[in-house]
Symmetry: C2
Subunit: 218 residues, 2 copies
């Protein structure tokens, strides 16, 4: 097998132009290990083998680097949801539920990334357009599944965005409560069951046959 044609020893490959990617990679590792709050720009730089001032050539400040990692997280989460829907069979309602489960599953298995993506570590997310766009796509994925349910007549009519908001809220709320340790046993299969109950509840609320259906006391 031929050696890489690029000059220089592989050890110091960063200096040739992929420092940004290396910094994002190191930051993601450290965040996964110790949470976004503990992340230090100086340690990221050290890990990447550069001085603590070097990152500023490629990122405006610490928030910009965190935003890049958060964006990566949103893309991964969206992919997980798309995959889950695809693997859930033909019933649109099953696919919808699978998408929501994937949302919760992502949060539970990557709590540090989830906190980074939604928490205050990146102070103004709208200041990072590609981050905002990747977040929008995650929501969009959920919305698409609702729209498919509507087309199949399984969910009542209306703007899919409006209907997706309760669904997003409930999976996001459960995920947040688990990640913030307000709820949940830590047991993975118990969490799965929780998520299943939660999504089922909101699905009932969105199902067809709208309007007054409240039961009267006997």
């Amino acid at each position: 097998m031929a050696r890489s044609p690029s000059r220089g020893r592989p050890k110091r490959a960063y200096h040739h132009g992929n420092l940004p990617a290396a910094l994002v990679g190191c930051a993601a590792e450290l965040i996964g290990a110790h949470g976004p709050e503990a992340l230090t720009l100086r340690e990221v730089a050290k890990r990447a083998g550069v001085s603590h001032a070097a990152p500023y050539r490629h990122f405006k400040d610490k928030a910009a680097l965190l935003a890049a990692v958060a964006e990566e997280g949103f893309r991964e989460m969206t992919q997980d949801m798309v995959d889950a829907a695809g693997g859930a069979g033909p019933d649109p309602m099953d696919r919808f539920q699978a998408t929501g489960l994937a949302y919760v599953r992502f949060a539970v298995s990557h709590p540090a990334h989830f906190r980074l993506m939604f928490g205050p570590a990146v102070p103004d997310k709208l200041a990072h357009p590609s981050l905002a766009e990747s977040a929008r796509q995650a929501f969009s994925t959920l919305m698409d599944q609702i729209a498919a349910c509507q087309t199949a007549g399984l969910v009542r009519g209306g703007d899919p965005a409006d209907l997706a908001l309760p669904a997003w809220s409930i999976v996001h709320g459960l995920a947040s409560l688990i990640v913030d340790r307000q709820v949940g046993s830590g047991d993975a299969s118990a969490t799965e069951e929780l998520a299943r109950t939660i999504t089922a509840a909101v699905m009932l609320g969105l199902a067809t046959e709208p309007g007054r259906r409240r039961a009267q006391p006997s």
Copy 2:
């Protein structure tokens, strides 16, 4: 009117034993103004008129002071929910919805406190028992309303804690998404409408007549 009987000028009243309360008050003010992330123990101390080492006589560390402020937040939020339920008339379902609305309203009008209460500013909430207890009471308030709906036959049977989890998740999710600026126009009345839709959706999901009710495509 008689002067305060305590010796010394009111300006330096802290030194008599209410420094802890003064620190919590100053911290709450600063958090409300600039968010929990921006809070500095040194500035709290300065604001309270003591040296930056003085707080350590009363709080183990920064997290302990933040925990005290968060606890205050949970008590206030619980009170808001109780008041909302009380002001909502006799229908248990209306009272339940009012409680959920109060939850969202608290978050929207005290975003910094909400972030403090649920976010990572207090790293290990379980390490502060009275904080954990105040959080439990907030959840409990929501649960009580569900139980009342069950008693009235308006919500299906089962462990109230299980049924409250979807409700908690959905209001917490909406509140979090708004506070983290992933959703919402910033308009207060639009937010109110959002919250009303959300709570209605989950109420439909929890209503009586359980089991298979999914509509088939025509």
